[in-house]
Symmetry: C2
Subunit: 192 residues, 2 copies
C-alpha cells in the first residue's frame, strides 16, 4: 500500500508545483502570459497533465487566489498585532492590505479581478476566503460605530481599500498620494 501512498504524495507535490509556477509566471509577466502551454513547459510536463489536476485554467487561478487569501490574512493580522490602539490598528490594516496588493499584483488579480470560479460570501466559500474576511472583521468590527453592523462596516471599508488598490494599480489614480488617501479613509470612516 505504500506505493500508492508515495504516488499520491508525488501527485500532491506536482499540484503544488503547478500552482506555484502559475503564480510565479503571472507575477513575472501577467496573467495573459499564463497559457496552458507555457505553464506545462515550465513544469516540464505536457498540457494534459494540467487537466488531470484542474478542470481548466480558471481552477488554477482559483487555487492561486486561495493561497493568496491565506497569505493576505497572515499579513493583515501580523500588521495589526504590531499596532496599539484602534486608530493605529486600522491604519496598519489598511497599509498592510494595500501593500499586499502592490507586492502581489497577480495574486490580487486572481482574488478579485479574474474569474477563479470561487464563491464569495456564501456557505460554499473556501475557508481561506472566509478567514481573510474574518481577519479584516476582527479589527474593523471594533470601529464600526454605534448602530452600524460590523460586517457591513467591514464590507464597506474593504470595498474602499479595494477601489484604491485597483485604481492605483491600473494607473487610474496617481500613486504618490496613496498614504494621504489611506489617512483620509481611516480618519473619516472609522469611529474611535
Amino acid at each position: 500500500m505504500s506505493v500508492k501512498e508515495r504516488k499520491e504524495r508525488e501527485r500532491a507535490q506536482r499540484e503544488r508545483l503547478i500552482v506555484a509556477t502559475a503564480r510565479e509566471l503571472a507575477e513575472e509577466q501577467g496573467w495573459d502570459a499564463v497559457t496552458t502551454r507555457r505553464l506545462a513547459e515550465r513544469i516540464e510536463y505536457s498540457q494534459p497533465v494540467l487537466y488531470s489536476h484542474f478542470r481548466g485554467k480558471r481552477e488554477i487561478i482559483g487555487a492561486v487566489a486561495r493561497e493568496g487569501a491565506a497569505e493576505m490574512a497572515v499579513a493583515v493580522r501580523a500588521a495589526v498585532a504590531g499596532a496599539d490602539g484602534p486608530r493605529d490598528r486600522v491604519a496598519a490594516l489598511a497599509r498592510a492590505y494595500l501593500d499586499f496588493a502592490e507586492r502581489n499584483p497577480a495574486v490580487y488579480d486572481a482574488l478579485f479581478d479574474l474569474d477563479g470560479g470561487l464563491a464569495f460570501a456564501q456557505e460554499d466559500t473556501p475557508g481561506e476566503l472566509k478567514d481573510a474576511f474574518a481577519a479584516l472583521l476582527e479589527t474593523l468590527g471594533e470601529v464600526a460605530g454605534d448602530g452600524v453592523h460590523p460586517g457591513l462596516f467591514t464590507e464597506t471599508f474593504w470595498a474602499s481599500l479595494h477601489g484604491l488598490a485597483t485604481l492605483t494599480r491600473a494607473r487610474r489614480l496617481p500613486p504618490e498620494d496613496t498614504e494621504r488617501r489611506i489617512e483620509l479613509l481611516v480618519d473619516r470612516l472609522a469611529v474611535m
Copy 2:
C-alpha cells in the same frame, strides 16, 4: 468635392455602428463574446474593415469607454441637480454612480477594468474622462472638509464607490445592502 464628403460621412457612421455594436454585444453577452469575427458579422462587414477604423480590439474598447464616460457625467450631473443641500447631493451622486455601473456593466468594465489603451489623470487623457472626473469633483469638492484637497478627496470617494461597484457586480459583496453601504460612505466621508 461633395462625393468625398459623403464618403467621409458614411465612414464616420460606420465607425459609430462599430462602437455601438461592440457595446451592444458586450452588454448582451460580456466582453469575452465580443470577438472581431462576431463583431464583423453583426455589422455585416468583414473583419479587416474593423482594422481600417481602429488599431485593434483595445481601441474599440477605448471608444466604448469614452462614450460611456460622457454618459456617466451626464447621469451624475442630472442626479445632483435634482437634490438640495450638500448631503443629498453627495448621496444622489453616489446612487447615480452605482446605478450607472449596474445598468451598464460592460461599459463600466470598458472604463475601469479592461485595457482600452486610455491614459488617466494625465495631459493626454481624453476629454470625456476628464469631464467625468470633473462632474464628480463639482459635488464632492464641496464636502472635502478643511485642509483636505478637493481633488484628493474626490479620488478617494470615487475609489470607494468603484470598490463597491466592482465587488458587488463580481458577487464579492451581497447586493441587498448596497443602499446601507452608500449611506455609511456618505455620512462618514463627506464633511457637511
